[in-house]
Subunit: 239 residues, 4 copies
């Protein structure tokens, strides 16, 4: 009875119960704020998200929710008011991260004239977000928690493809890599290692991302096994 854990490694029970749907997911980024959301409530929400991200980076993606609530300085039930369950919270953190990467990638596209430089900038900026969790977002369901997550996902995918397309076009990027390769590799190289509270983790991630980028440049120094991982390959692989 294999259980393909996803964002809810912690509780198996959740899978058994009827998902308590109907949670008022509120957009965290740009348009269409569903509910106006009182000022203090909004502040709480942001603090929870920030604490969650911080806690995950420090202790891994299985942090206790109470720990997150404590860091945010709110009661645990408040956390649940904003995010009906663990999965929801994590997804929103990922969305947040994703959106920030998207934003930076766009800036890179605008600011950098050299396509490979733009790509590099996006990759190295991603390292700053630390959680190698983009992968989850990418490989994870789109419609699960409303269209916002899907949108967020689409945004980062599209901008990544754009970056790659330009880099490919410029002839600086080896042709046998796809957006999937890039995103997965970023995820992995920035993933928090279990059992390590190594301070230099960030440094290492940057070093290794740089090496990876160097390996992406033309002329290709090797023949890659398998085929380029495209965006489509990252969809629906779960379960």
């Amino acid at each position: 009875m294999k259980t393909h854990h996803a964002l809810r490694t912690r509780s198996v029970r959740a899978a058994r119960r009827p998902r308590p749907r109907g949670s008022p997911v509120k957009s965290t980024t740009v348009g269409a704020t569903r509910a106006p959301l009182r000022a203090d409530a909004a502040r709480n929400r942001e603090r929870i998200l920030a604490s969650a991200r911080e806690a995950i980076v420090e202790q891994g993606h299985e942090v206790a929710l109470d720990e997150i609530a404590r860091r945010a300085g709110v009661g645990n039930a408040t956390l649940y008011r904003h995010f009906p369950d663990r999965e929801s919270l994590l997804l929103h953190v990922l969305m947040h991260v994703s959106d920030q990467i998207t934003e930076r990638a766009r800036q890179a596209l605008e600011a950098e004239t050299d396509p490979f430089e733009a790509l590099s900038r996006m990759v190295l900026d991603s390292a700053r977000e630390r959680i190698g969790g983009l992968c989850w977002l990418l490989s994870f369901a789109t419609e699960v928690d409303g269209p916002q997550l899907a949108a967020s996902r689409e945004r980062v995918l599209r901008v990544t493809e754009e970056l790659l397309a330009r880099a490919h076009a410029s002839g600086q990027l080896r042709p046998d890599v796809g957006a999937g390769d890039l995103l997965i590799a970023i995820s992995r190289l920035t993933l928090t290692l279990p059992g390590k509270t190594c301070v230099r983790d960030g440094d290492m991630a940057r070093r290794h991302l740089q090496i990876f980028l160097d390996g992406l440049r033309t002329p290709s120094r090797s023949q890659l096994p398998g085929e380029a991982i495209q965006l489509a390959d990252l969809k629906d692989e779960r379960h």
Copy 2:
């Protein structure tokens, strides 16, 4: 964390005893099986180790021990008999993995004439072991659980340094990387991603390791931030 017995008679006894046997752990590499270990028991032991590795690869390093026992087809207590606690089991799995990597690296050193090829071979072979757990082993205590782990650790470290030294000497490897860089990057790029039971994970790992290797070649295509991570940097980083 001082434990004051007396009020917790329940669980104290075990702690008082000098731990019956220091786990009969027979060396997984060379020879010298410590304990004769009955035929069926030995089979169980191997099945548990195999199941553990498999389960960890599939579900992450936090798999329930009961799950591992179930996969191995033994009772939960049997698992405990062989490995007195979670830590012990994981350490033995890591040791097993480490030893196999060491073995392959040695073969690469012998068989390959080209130093960079030898390095590549070792790196790509590592991917086959999947668990990006080497990192733990490397950064983890040496004397804690007997000399076997220390030995295992030293072996993989030494062979890695040897590979790098030769590659550096041949001028094919960029000079600003150390054994720490290599091992950490391998760990990360082969780490099982939470939430993914993606079948092509192995393929991806190999692709990305190859790209990483390409980035390691001379001439250096960039200036790396920070300093080369050496082996010493991986030691004692815990706690």
Copy 3:
């Protein structure tokens, strides 16, 4: 017993945290309720303590915590919320018992004019508390779990010494006994016997305590082996 984290991510987190709150333990004797504690929570807490005492008396000090929780009519985790572990619960039960004995001893000191009568009254009153657990309290660490226990311990010790001192001074108490003798003997003669749920246990305890008291009177009817057990002898005997 060094614990090396990293390989046991599962259970480690809790240990890392500085233990959320230092148990809201309101003083059981005088005043100064530390934490306001909601009405129902306070009720639960009292019920748990009462059930624990009852269960210990009936089944010995190794009763399952789940059993205690069941008797109290609360979930097992609720018990944990109030008392983070077995030790904590038992200590609070002991504290409660100790404080009651102290209180009664003080009343005896005030009310009784005859010093030996005061002593007798304290001893016989102790029997009513049943749990021969004072001994633990006495021989147990003082600073370990906060100052409250230390205080509770000191109180009962001091009042006992006072009672003995007066009885000695009056010439009614044989000189070769100390407070340690008294407290240990009380502990033993009121200890719940394993395997007995004998209803007359209390009666027996009182009978035997009375006989013991008679043996304490002057003139001494024998020469006691060994030396008088003083309070200091009861300290730090653990581990």
Copy 4:
């Protein structure tokens, strides 16, 4: 759902299963050895009993059976061959203790001319056996494990009554105490205290038994509450 634990506090399961009867209980003392019992087997049996007694004295009556087996230097299954379950082992230990006390009491009866001296000697000798477990034997079922336990029980009861009868007759022993009082008090005052590995425990027991004896002498220094506990009072109180 109160469970009246007796000799098997440890496992509740045992109570659920059909008692695996038919164990070849062999007399440990005088007459009628059922099975000849090979020499080495007999030696094992004695070593197990001795280790059990020692372990119980040191660690309480809940020692792990494996611990006892280890002390005896035999495999755990060997222990089970001799004593089909925990209960059986404990009962035989008690029987052993009981028989030794009986023996000493008889010697005291013969050797001492003064009846109270004889009583004292028996009481103080009992302290040497340490386990305050006689009580179990006394209050415990008689027919459970064959007639031998019943016999052992009867023997110690009878000799105790004889000692008391003579002491009463001599006018040295206060009249309001019975054999039950004596045996229970001995049990309690020699009971191993949980959480204490106090070396002076034996000293204390002797001191307190002596004080108790002094309290038993005439002239009575008080009026005892309740009635004298007779032997009949100790029977069938369980469950």
